[in-house]
């Protein structure tokens, strides 16, 4: 399967997780969530309330920008809801879904965006949580996406728990994972891979995978919505 097809499948998986009427937020460096929110609004969630770090409420941008912080995401917006506003709203339980990125995700659903290795002498210093520690326990649910699914990303225990809390789903190039009974489990395996590969690329035991269904491939309607929302394929930049 081509990279482009995997990107499209991931965007569609993210869009399917959003429900009509929900308040949904994405932050910086979040091209796939940006595309997914716009696809969901076009298909099954026309009344979704779209908030982003760019500050626009329900923008209708003429084109999607190359950065999810870009002010193009205020064009056509009906209000400006700036950063302190959406952090406060999340703190009081007023945001249904927040998308978060992660360098590491562990079995218990903790995420790391702080440091690889020892915190004070890291092998790699990462950008930090950007408020994830406040958002992850207070949002309705958290959706994490990651464009690499390897044992270095999916680990038994994160090197540093930047945040943990209401993780719901993780979407990767190989599968969709879901938190259940305090542990990440495979919900569906993408059509182009196998249970054996998913387990081999995951750094903790996923349990029996024989009964796990396949992820439904993107429908013609979903692909058409993707093409309409993101004709320039800014979403591909997450894989570069």
């Amino acid at each position: 399967m081509s990279d482009a097809a995997v990107v499209d499948l991931m965007a569609v998986c993210l869009a399917r997780l959003l429900r009509d009427g929900e308040r949904v937020l994405h932050g910086v460096s979040s091209l796939l969530p940006m595309v997914a929110v716009n696809v969901a609004k076009r298909l099954h969630a026309p009344n979704l309330v779209y908030l982003s770090v760019a500050g626009g409420v329900d923008p209708s941008p003429p084109r999607l920008p190359w950065s999810s912080t870009d002010q193009t995401l205020t064009v056509g917006a009906t209000a400006i809801f700036a950063n302190e506003d959406f952090y406060d709203l999340c703190a009081r339980g007023g945001i249904d879904v927040v998308f978060l990125g992660a360098a590491q995700v562990d079995r218990a659903g903790r995420i790391n965006t702080s440091a690889i290795g020892e915190y004070d002498r890291p092998k790699v210093r990462l950008p930090g949580g950007g408020g994830a520690a406040a958002i992850m326990p207070t949002a309705g649910r958290i959706v994490v996406w990651r464009t690499q699914h390897t044992p270095r990303v999916f680990v038994e225990r994160v090197d540093f728990a930047t945040a943990s809390g209401r993780l719901d789903r993780v979407v990767t190039p190989l599968c969709v994972l879901r938190m259940a009974d305090g542990q990440l489990r495979v919900e569906s395996i993408h059509p182009h891979t196998s249970a054996a590969e998913v387990q081999a690329q995951t750094g903790f035991d996923l349990g029996a995978l024989t009964a796990v269904p396949r992820t439904p491939p993107p429908s013609a309607t979903e692909l058409a919505a993707l093409a309409a929302v993101d004709p320039e394929r800014v979403r591909d930049h997450e894989f570069r």
Binding site: G55, Q71, T72, G129, A133, M136, P137, F160, G165
Partner: protein, 153 residues
């Protein structure tokens, strides 16, 4: 200041954050020391000579930073008459009494964006990233940018 969440994160232990018991609900809540920067430097679309400042579009953290800092420096695309602020005071993001200095700085956000006046100059950002791989290259790059006429930036 109280902050929601943070439980389940390693940040509180690493940063030495403490909890207090909310006297109204009895719940434990993390409290963080307030940030009090000496200076905030904010680039805005319009300011007047007194320091009143407007940002069109999204202010990101500008409002919070202007209230947190001890002193604010405003850099502005345009200097306008105070009458413009008097006509629509609700558009003033930072009132003059919080502002220590105003600098007229057209294209002052370049190579970043000051939307909708101008967008990110991606070519300039790429050139900066390429030049900044070593200190000498960065110095040469900054010197060239510093001497360039504003319109060329």
């Amino acid at each position: 200041m109280p902050v929601a969440g943070l439980f389940g994160s390693d940040i509180p232990a690493q940063s030495g954050l403490k909890t207090v018991r909310d006297p109204y609900t009895g719940q434990e809540v993390y409290v963080v020391p307030a940030l009090r920067p000496d200076w905030a430097v904010l680039h805005v679309h319009e300011a007047d000579a007194q320091g009143n400042a407007r940002v069109y579009g999204s202010p990101f953290w500008d409002r919070t930073m202007s209230r947190a800092a001890r002193q604010v420096i405003v850099t502005a695309e345009r200097i306008v008459d105070t009458a413009a602020f008097q006509r629509q005071p609700e558009l003033t993001l930072v009132p003059h009494f919080l502002v220590a200095a105003v600098v007229h700085a057209p294209r002052g956000a370049w190579p970043a964006a000051c939307y909708p006046d101008y967008e990110v100059d991606h070519a300039a950002v790429r050139a900066y990233l390429a030049a900044s791989r070593d200190p000498a290259g960065l110095r040469a790059h900054l010197a060239a940018a510093d001497g360039a006429p504003v319109a060329a930036r």
